[in-house]
Amino acid sequence: MNREELNFFLQQVDSDALFALVQKVQCCSEVQVIQQSTEQTLMLPVTDPVTQGTFYGGEVLVNSAIVRVNTVEGWAMVLDQHPTRALHIAILDGAYAAEVEKEAIVDLAGKGQKLHGQMNKDVDRQVASTRVSFDLM
């Protein structure tokens, strides 16, 4: 799993599991918060098929945080109002890049990936069951 995948898959796991791993990282490295978890918005540019141009379809609320683990910066951005989760994922992002508890981080993100995949599979099954073919009379 690469670093860019951590941000999304770590959002899928239980917050207690996330916190437990963050504590492990904090025990064996120096963690410094550069930017506390902050509420921000992201504009959503949408492709307009009528002109092939772009318009803004709204904004999405995110929380992002920046930390330093040993000498390496970590960052995370999570959807919606979850400041603690953003901070914890930023710490794990930095730890991954600093090679601190990397294996455990990949394992946890892997669990998130599995959970997400299972959820998608259930939904896909329901979606596929509504596929319809029409015949003209």
Partner: protein, 351 residues
């Protein structure tokens, strides 16, 4: 118009707030998840019309307003203005949607198939007992739909049968920073409509089908599903997935028009997009888009839906609610002035 300040009533105002909050107290125990999943369409309307995607805040706004969707959308719009904007997500495109429902009333057989998905379209609107529990009835298996399904209208585009309007903008306009002057950029109109109030959008779109227009579209591609929001990781420079959001898109096909590019006859289309699942709004937006950007859809010179001036200033629910409700505020002095004018006019009229 002049305004005159009044004072007094602070205690009564505080009591009114307490009374209002007490009257909604029973709703305060409804959890976020129950609201987000059980009242999904209410939450989606709040996010779409508030122009801010946050399921947590949508649920909180529902609780605080006792389910008043316009008021709830106001909360989100207000909150949006307090947040720092960090940038833009990567471009969203309808074809990248992970589809839950996708139908076309123009084509019977389409790439990816017709997917009915979760919809109330097939429900009989009669109260016949309570909602039945799902007893795990077996679902027929089939290929998953997933993402990357092209619009059903794309086949017509590839055959050069669709009018492609000129894109005159290098950067999309952002109406949340400043309001445009006429002639309104297309991107501004689209942004205003995508955060417009569902009822207003529906009403204006409906005028174009009844007495004040001639739009009778065919739904080329209507879909609901999830789109990935991505941002650039500041330290690696690579794309990172932030999360998935619910969205609705609609491409409506109208009758043929002369293409301004070469004068050839091609089909006109309109596009609708909104945050959350809201098919009525997306269809209405696609109809309004078509009416405004293609001549020939207004009849009798009463171009309500085809007039950008009318649409851009009247579909925003929060603005129109604010202006309408401000009439509840004390207008004692202005009304007294009106009465004085009436008395003077009567005197002169009687003389």
């Amino acid at each position: 118009m002049s305004y005159v300040a009044i004072k007094g009533g602070s205690d009564a105002i505080q009591s009114s707030i307490r009374f209002f909050q007490n009257s909604l107290r029973q709703g305060q125990v409804i959890g976020d998840e129950e609201l987000q999943k059980g009242l999904i369409f209410s939450c989606d309307r709040i996010m779409g019309e508030g122009a801010l995607y946050s399921e947590t805040l949508a649920a909180e706004a529902l609780r605080r307003t006792g389910g008043d969707l316009l008021e709830a959308a106001f909360y989100l719009r207000a909150h949006r203005s307090t947040c720092k904007r960090i940038g833009e997500a990567t471009q969203l495109s309808g074809s990248s949607m992970r589809i839950l429902r996708r139908i076309s009333s123009a084509f019977k057989d389409i790439e990816g198939g017709q997917i009915l998905g979760p919809s109330c379209d097939y429900v009989i609107r009669l109260f016949r007992g309570l909602v039945e529990e799902d007893e795990g009835t077996s679902l027929s298996s089939g290929d998953p739909v997933g993402a990357g399904v092209p619009s059903a209208v794309d086949s017509l585009r590839q055959r050069d049968q669709i009018v492609l309007l000129e894109n005159k903008e290098e950067q999309p306009f952002d109406v949340s920073r400043s309001f445009p002057l006429p002639p309104y950029p297309r991107s501004a109109l689209m942004q205003v409509m995508s955060r417009g109030e569902t009822g207003a959008m529906l009403a204006f779109a409906y005028t174009s089908m009844r007495g004040y227009g001639d739009v009778h579209p065919t739904i080329g591609d209507l879909r609901i599903g999830y789109m990935s929001v991505e941002f650039i990781h500041p330290f690696t420079g690579n794309k990172v997935k932030v999360g998935d959001i619910r969205v609705t898109t609609c491409e409506a096909i109208g009758s043929f028009n002369r293409d301004p590019r070469d004068g050839k006859l091609r089909l006109a289309t309109g596009f609708g997009f909104c945050l959350g699942f809201n098919e009525t709004k997306a269809i209405s937006m696609s109809i309004l888009d078509m009416a405004m950007h293609h001549s020939g859809y207004s009849v009798g010179g009463m171009d309500i839906a085809a007039n950008p001036e009318i649409i851009i200033h009247h579909v925003d629910g929060i603005e129109s609610m604010g202006f309408t409700n401000h009439f509840k505020l004390p207008h004692y002095v202005t009304f007294q002035a009106d009465l004085q004018v009436l008395l003077k006019a009567k005197e002169q009229s009687d003389e």
